[in-house]
């Protein structure tokens, strides 16, 4: 979209502001000036010519007066006045002369001729008439000529008009000549350069401008072409950079989308199968953390080289970023071959690498998707392979997961649930069920574990194992924990009301809450609101959550214990099973994971383990809880090994509170035993 905008913006600009060509601008800039200068020059010349004509006319008339005076002198002196008149009349052929007169020495007009009534700008010249002969030289009289500048005016006017016309014609001719020459010398080269730029803009390639001339435009074009050449190289490099990962030199995510487009076209037939392997390195973060980012980069380069070596020429390898790689084999015979290819890739990756003189064995998971080349949803291949990858990463890291219907279904279900979380909260779809913890000695219910359930309107009751990771991913852990806390407090109220105040409720505390210092305060506030004692609450934590943030976890646990709540370590035996943890943290209880229980009493090993745990707990003063007791013999075995409490289907399945209360009601009458939960060590001093 941005690109489109960029592409169209200049066009819009070009349309909005009509392009002003250089040629036209030149013509507009020069031709009026030329015209004005020409007209001014012409006018100047003409005005000077006008004045010169006026002067010439004055001089000519003066000469005429003088010459006529000479001619007239004798007849005037000799009083041949008819001759005077006729000689005077002759000058009237001069059309500038309006009138003429000859006066004798007495000042009387001897002859007077008038050509036309003086209309405008009449000037006058007067000259004495001298008569000389051998004996005398006298002034016989005077000649006066009145003349008009009208002919000069008319002459000048017509010449100005002619000059104007000639000037206009010259300007017009100049205009044409300029237009033609400017088009040839400027317009064409510019158009050639422009066209090269337009073509370059259209397909991003650098086209040269085709100009052969040797003038400045020729030089400009050569410079432009040189620049185009440079740009072309830069564009190529830029294109390569845009499409490739600078670290490994492999095509990048952007290339992948482009490659996917061409895949179907490049395939031999629409039925040929395409194998898409989505590779994710396992624990690449660990590599980075352990060896540093430079080594991490080196590691990635190694992996990319291995992938390149492992594939055939027709295969396509890309790095999408981070520790994600993609390998596409454009044609595989069937899904099994594809799977074999993926495994082959895994094997290639798994060769040990030396980093800082240490052997590192890379591990990766592959999500494999196989699709027909004609599949219209070929562009979804990365997403599909990612589903498989997700499965592999979550279910079996270091393996190849092939995308199948089930996985896709799972994926869709996961997606659905994830999207439904907000609605789940809003509509109260999350329910807290309770499973009892029982004293193995007397079978009395001493506590309840609050277990979350999702009553989904379409999918029915969903267990926490499925949706808790989704809750965590969507960032709703705290909300859910408070929901459970609130529900538990309400349950405690009801237990008290039902006369079972001794029954405590255990809440699973996710690692994120353990890191939250405010949780303890919130717990106290909630207890206060429902008027229940925090000591009625038990908080179950996992070993993993302790390890991730030991300091803050320890802090939170101490606060909770100060409030009176008890702390239980859940799922003990499956994780680190650190004895140090048992000592270090303020724990009250340890819950043995059901994995150790299920094979008991048959498995001697498990019995030994549980026995060790039990003796250890006894030594440390921790109460032991056996989870997943499903059969009486298991309960018996536990009891024999000194485990005090048990939990499992043998006793009760998790049920809504009402059902639990009902059951407790029924059982209550005969023998309600009170398990006094008294922590052997004051919590305050536990740590």
């Amino acid at each position: 979209m941005r690109n489109d905008d960029d592409m169209t913006a200049p066009k819009r600009n070009a349309q909005a502001a009509p392009s002003r060509s250089v040629v036209r601008a030149m013509i507009w800039a020069t031709v009026p000036v030329l015209l004005v200068v020409q007209l001014l020059a012409s006018a100047g010349v003409e005005i000077s010519s006008f004045w010169s004509q006026i002067r010439q006319l004055d001089a000519r008339i003066a000469r005429t007066a003088e010459s006529r005076g000479e001619l007239i002198a004798e007849p005037l002196w000799k009083m041949r006045y008819d001759q005077v008149t006729s000689v005077l009349s002759e000058i009237m052929h001069d059309e500038t002369i309006a009138a003429a007169a000859v006066y004798d020495d007495t000042g009387v007009a001897i002859a007077r001729v008038v050509a036309r009534p003086s209309d405008q700008a009449v000037s006058e010249v007067s000259r004495p008439i001298s008569y000389t002969n051998g004996n005398i030289a006298v002034q016989a009289g005077r000649i006066v000529i009145a003349y008009s500048y009208a002919t000069v005016y008319a002459d000048t006017g017509s010449r100005l008009l002619l000059l104007l016309v000639v000037g206009l014609l010259a300007t017009f001719a100049t205009l044409i000549a300029m237009r033609i020459s400017a088009n040839i010398f400027i317009g064409k080269p510019l158009a050639a350069i422009m066209s090269a730029i337009q073509r370059s803009k259209q397909d991003g390639r650098a086209y040269p401008a085709d100009i052969k001339s040797l003038n400045e435009f020729g030089q400009l074009a050569r410079a432009f072409n040189a620049m185009q050449h440079t740009t072309s190289g830069a564009l190529d490099r830029l294109g390569h950079m845009a499409a490739h990962d600078p670290l490994t030199g492999l095509p990048n995510r952007r290339s992948l989308s482009e490659h996917l487009v061409t895949l179907s076209n490049d395939a031999g037939s629409p039925d040929s199968l395409i194998a898409f392997c989505f590779i994710d390195l396992d624990d690449f973060k660990g590599i980075n953390d352990t060896f540093g980012h430079d080594s991490g980069d080196k590691f990635l380069v190694h992996i990319s080289e291995r992938l390149r070596d492992a594939v055939e020429p027709q295969d396509w390898v890309a790095r999408l970023g981070g520790d994600e790689f993609v390998v596409i084999r454009p044609e595989v015979s069937n899904e099994a071959t594809a799977q074999a290819f993926a495994r082959q890739l895994l094997n290639a990756i798994s060769e040990p690498i030396r980093l800082h003189d240490k052997q590192v064995v890379p591990r990766a998971s592959i999500g494999l998707a196989v699709r027909r080349a004609g599949d219209p949803e070929l562009s979804h291949l990365p997403a599909l392979a990612d589903i498989a990858l997700y499965h592999a990463k979550s279910k079996a890291p270091g393996t190849v997961a092939v995308l199948d219907e089930a996985l896709q279904r799972d994926y869709r279900r996961r997606r659905d649930l994830e999207l439904a979380i907000p609605a789940g909260f809003a509509e109260g779809q999350f329910e807290v069920w309770y499973q009892s913890q029982v004293d193995l000695e007397n079978q009395a219910v001493v506590g309840l574990e609050a277990l979350i359930r999702w009553r989904h309107p379409e999918h029915g009751i969903i267990g926490p194992g499925e949706f808790l990771p989704l809750i965590e991913r969507s960032g709703n852990n705290a909300r859910l924990t408070r929901y459970v806390l609130t529900d538990s407090c309400r349950a405690l109220q009801r237990l008290m009301a039902a006369g079972k105040p001794q029954i405590r409720i255990a809440i699973n505390l996710p690692p994120s809450e353990l890191a939250d210092h405010s949780f303890a305060a919130e717990l106290r506030a909630t207890c206060a609101r429902f008027d229940v004692a925090p000591s009625s609450l038990e908080l179950e934590i996992t070993e993993g959550s302790l390890i991730n943030n030991m300091a803050s976890a320890s802090e939170t646990l101490h606060r909770l214990r100060r409030l009176g709540a008890t702390i239980a370590l859940d799922d003990f035996g499956t994780g680190y099973s650190s004895l140090a943890h048992l000592r270090r943290f303020p724990l009250d209880k340890v819950k043995i994971d059901k994995a150790f229980i299920s094979e008991i009493p048959d498995s001697a090993e498990d019995k030994a383990i549980v026995g060790v745990i039990a003796s250890l707990a006894g030594t440390l003063g921790l109460t032991l809880v056996a989870e997943g007791i499903e059969r009486p013999e298991q309960a018996e075995a536990m009891r024999e090994m000194g485990v005090m409490l048990g939990q499992g289907f043998h006793y009760h399945r998790p049920q809504p509170l009402d059902a639990v209360l009902q059951w407790l009601e029924k059982q209550a009458a005969p023998e309600s035993r009170v398990l006094v939960d008294s922590p052997s060590i004051a919590p305050e001093f536990a740590a």
Binding site: W77, K78, M79, R80, Y81, D82, D104, D105, T106, V108
Partner: protein
Amino acid sequence: MTAVLRILLTMGMACGVFTPVGGAAASDAKPLNIVFVNPGKTGEVYWDMVAQTMKAAGRKLDAHVEVLTSERNYRTMQELGLGVVTRPDKPDFLILSNEESAAVPVLEAAEAAGVKTLLLSNTLIGEDAVRLGPPRQKLKTWLGDITTDLQTAGARMANALISRARAEKWQSPDGKIHILGIGGDEITPASIARNAGLKLAADAAPDVVVDRMLFANWTQSEAEQVTANYLGWASRKEIRPAGIWAGNDPMALGALRAVTAAGLMPGRNIEVVGLNWSEDALREIKSGRLLLTDGGHFLLGGWSIVLLRDYADGCDFAAASAHIEVKTSAITRTNLGSVGDLIKNRAFDRIDFTRFRAKAGRCGQYDFSIDALISSLASLEGTAD
């Protein structure tokens, strides 16, 4: 050989010397055949009278005078002259007038043809005179010329005006006597001489100013026009015009008309003088409007025949000079009675031309004065004398 030549030459010289003497003595010599190419127009008074006196003299002196009129066309004049010299029967003498120097080619043709020529009234001038030299040298047949002394005539006319004006005290406010001169033209010797006479007289009189020398092409109308112009100018200049000097009678008559038209009274408060002895002028003299008319040079026609008669009879006028210059005379109211009738009636036969012939031994010496003329008439009238 030489001796024979010397004898022949001596005989010839003897003949040359004695023949005229014999001729002069013998009054009944052979008749002469004379042709005159008249440059003037028929009806032109002066030239008509020249031809008439020529003929009258011919009759008296046994000479046949043939007059060819060129009607004021000098081309015609030349053609006529050339026609005469190429005649098989050539005349004894050819009389030409060198008006506008048109006679020169004819003179030269006559030289070639051996026809003797005489120039009348207008002789060679300027370049022609220099080139051809005096008579009878380069052109052997050119015998000489007979002209009038018109400069003296001009001066006499002017002086008459001046005397009259002085006597009448016709001075202008500036104390000067103002005169208008009207010349015929400025180029012909006849005109130039007259005008020079006016100037001579005026220059000699410090109280006289010739206001203008105007030219009227010898014609009355133009003279009237320029006179009118002059009078107008003079009145604007507050000049009192005292007299008008006209180069010939027609112009004087034109001046008279203009003067009269201007309200002046000729003869009473202004005087006009002319030249030519024309009939009209005589009438104006008689009426007291014209002061005088100088002239009588039309008698050159008669005088030329006298010269040629004498020459033919052996009394060569060149003995004195080949250039005969005849003085003119003025006709005033005083002498008008004597010659008026002669001119008026053109009764030139009354003139006894024989009386004007050179006396024996005084060849070339002639008295063509008006007194001589009057006495010749008187003798004719007074048969008792």
